[in-house]
């Protein structure tokens, strides 16, 4: 089975081919691994290769996977293998809520002309205020933020015309 993953901004793919007896061939991007997987319950997997063994603990939280290898922790995100980011991060020019929080101020209205760097929306979470700023000169096309509203992380709040 082929699966696609987001690792930071990178799209990475894994092909899993069962070979019987708990043995698998995996191709991660262009690296091929052969190993034996022994489920140990509670989300732990013992992965045995010709070099030795490692215990991985994988926890799913929505699309996100928390993976612990030994004492190192990593986070990746399951996505569809379409060749681009599943959560759409990045392409809204940083005008998404960077974290779950409460919109405290909306400083512009749809149709406003704004200058690069101008604060548009303020979000407060855990006593930190974060300002969303215009990434370039332009016009505010759509505004999805309302003061006092609670928003999740990664939610588009402002749409701007291309610069």
């Amino acid at each position: 089975m082929r699966s696609a993953w987001l690792d930071g901004g990178r799209l990475r793919t894994v092909d899993v081919t069962p070979m019987g007896g708990g043995r698998y061939r995996l191709t991660v991007d262009d690296v091929t691994l052969e190993l034996e997987a022994q489920p140990m319950g509670e989300g732990s997997l013992r992965l045995v290769t010709t070099d030795g063994a490692v215990v991985a603990q994988v926890t799913a939280a929505g699309a996100r996977r928390f993976v612990r290898l030994g004492h190192l922790d990593f986070t990746v995100e399951r996505t569809v293998a379409s060749g681009r980011g599943g959560s759409g991060s990045g392409h809204a020019g940083g005008l998404e809520s960077p974290m779950p929080g409460v919109v405290t101020r909306v400083m512009v209205a749809a149709g406003d002309t704004v200058k690069k760097g101008q604060p548009l929306v303020a979000i407060e979470a855990m006593k930190m205020e974060h300002l969303l700023r215009a990434p370039h000169d332009g016009r505010v096309k759509k505004l999805r933020a309302k003061a006092g509203e609670m928003v999740g992380g990664g939610v588009p709040l402002v749409e701007m015309d291309a610069g």
Binding site: M1, S3, W5, D7, G8, R12, V14, V16, P18, Y24, L26, V28, D29, L33, L35, A37, P39, E42, G43, S44, L45, L47, T49, D51, G52, A53, V54, V55, A56, Q57, V58, T59, A60, A61, R65, F66, V67, R68, L69, G70, H71, L72, D73, F74, T75, V76, P98, M99, P100, G101, T104, R105, E124, A125, M126, K127, E129, H130, M150, G153
Partner: protein
């Protein structure tokens, strides 16, 4: 002695206070917001009162609801913890007016020290130097003062503390733009929109002295804490003693702290914070009239339970300790585990902590507010836990801390654990070579490069195989027990994460 005490707080500190109350034979009463129903701090108490909706103003800052809850439960006293209403004189007064005992200083002392402007005047009055600064609500006046003492300056909530709501501003435009946000944070964090500004000293260390007073003018100190490892003015790792403080300097710092506390006949435990310049000169910063987040490092080197000390002072009106018998032994280091994504600008995180494991070993203490299955709400400070290690030497304490952080695991909510692990192993930290801006100036870029590196192939292999085998652990079990991991470096080979070996 009290029979029942209401803890007006949440999270790790509410749990920690409850532990000492129980040991003293006092029944802890918890409070919570609607977002915190079932939270760990409510599970460790005998009874729970729900204060109101999630927003702090409607719940943990709701004085009326807190006093009503204390009365309904039949508590004799209220412990405020840190943050929320811990340094709110109006709360302390309301508690006393209700015929209850406030475990902390008098409202008057809280008001004086809580108003950073009055505290600075007081310190100056007893001959302790203060950092140059200015106050007032007028933007033009503040801008003029900032120009005079020269940028960069810090904007601070006048009634704040703990580094919350502070902002560095480098020029007049930033000062004017930042003022409104700073006022808003001051209001939401501390219930008062006043701010003041202070010169930002460069290459300074943050050293603080733990003090305790009986309210009649007897004040003792419990030595220093080194809290220079900060990110955006938030302490991330603290220790005691400080490797920058020798015996003569310790004597002068402790003497200054005691003089300040004695000047107000301080009652309860408190902390006098100083900035220590690279030239060895120190300046009074502020006094925190409450228990500090980092109090465990002092507890470990002195053997004094600071919560017990608070409760005994409040109940008996005297200091139960003989200052001449106090000594600090060994070294303790604390790391603060926050729900923050260190790889993405330390953005606060929220969600369900599906699997949580804390280290269990000799010489390691964990003050935790969450266990497996607990919700981390967006509404409050993102601190999840503190991991504290002790050793006969600084080196041993740091080594144990690094090991303890390795053994800590939080899955479900992204935490700063990878950041803390890297920090605990930093050679500069090992040498004690840092100041309050060192993390941002010298550590963060290297960490960001490390955190931004592609994950090893084995990580993706494990994630894909877990899905294939239906072995994604989303255990909601609260015991937090997860099978011990084997050493991954047996097989590390090509999968070794760059720089993490």
């Amino acid at each position: 002695m009290f029979r029942k005490v209401l803890i007006a707080n949440r999270g790790e500190i509410a749990c920690r206070i409850a532990a000492t109350l129980r040991e003293m034979g006092i029944r802890p009463v918890a409070v919570c917001s609607e977002a915190d129903r079932g939270a760990r701090h409510t599970r460790v108490a005998d009874e729970v009162a729900i204060l109101g909706p999630a927003e702090a103003r409607a719940s943990y800052l709701n004085i009326e609801a807190l006093i009503r809850a204390a009365r309904a439960a039949g508590a004799q006293a209220i412990h405020p913890g840190y943050g929320f209403l811990a340094e709110h004189a109006g709360f302390a007064a309301a508690v006393e007016d209700a015929g209850l005992i406030f475990i902390g200083p008098t409202p008057e002392q809280t008001r004086t020290m809580g108003d950073k402007r009055a505290a600075r005047a007081l310190a100056g009055g007893v001959g302790v130097p203060v950092v140059p600064g200015a106050e007032g609500d007028d933007a033009d006046a503040l801008a003029a003062a900032a120009k005079k003492i020269r940028y960069p300056v810090l904007l601070k909530p006048a009634l704040g503390g703990g580094g919350k709501g502070m902002a560095v501003v480098g020029d007049e435009a930033a000062l004017r733009e930042g003022l409104e946000g700073a006022r808003r944070l001051a209001l939401s964090g501390f219930g008062d929109a006043s701010v003041y500004l202070e010169k930002r000293l460069e290459h300074a260390r943050h050293i603080e002295i733990q003090v305790a007073g009986d309210g009649q003018g007897n004040v003792l100190h419990l030595f220093e804490r080194e809290c220079s490892l900060q990110r955006r003015h938030q302490k991330v790792m603290e220790e005691s003693p400080s490797c920058a403080v020798d015996a003569p300097l310790r004597e002068r710092l402790c003497g200054a702290a005691v003089a300040i506390a004695r000047a107000v006949k301080y009652r309860g435990v408190g902390t006098v914070e100083f900035l220590l310049g690279p030239d060895g000169k120190f300046y009074f910063l502020e006094m925190n009239t409450r228990l500090q987040v980092e109090h465990p490092v002092t507890e470990w080197v002195t053997g004094v339970d600071l919560v017990r000390l608070q409760v005994e002072i409040a109940a008996e009106g005297r200091l139960p300790l003989d200052p001449s018998a106090l000594a600090a032994r060994g070294h303790a280091v604390e790391a603060r585990v926050y729900a923050e994504d260190a790889a993405r600008g330390f953005l606060p995180q929220a969600g369900r902590a599906l699997r949580v494991r804390w280290p269990e070993s000799p010489f390691v203490r964990v003050d935790a507010g969450i266990e497996s299955g607990d919700e981390v709400p967006v509404h409050y400070d993102p601190i999840l836990a503190k991991v504290i290690a002790y050793g006969p030497t600084r080196e041993r304490a740091l080594g144990r801390l690094a090991q303890a952080l390795d053994e800590s695991m939080v899955h479900g909510v992204i935490t700063n654990l990878p950041f803390l692990r890297a920090l605990a192993r930093s050679p500069d930290v090992a040498r004690g070579r840092f100041d309050t801006e060192w993390i941002e100036r010298e550590f963060l870029d290297g960490f960001a490069a490390l955190a931004g590196a592609p994950v090893p192939e084995m990580v993706l292999a494990a994630a894909a195989l877990a899905e294939e085998l239906g072995a994604n652990g989303a255990s909601h079990a609260r015991d937090g027990k997860v099978t011990a991991a084997e050493d991954p470096f047996v097989t590390a080979g090509r999968w070794r994460h760059p720089g993490l070996s």
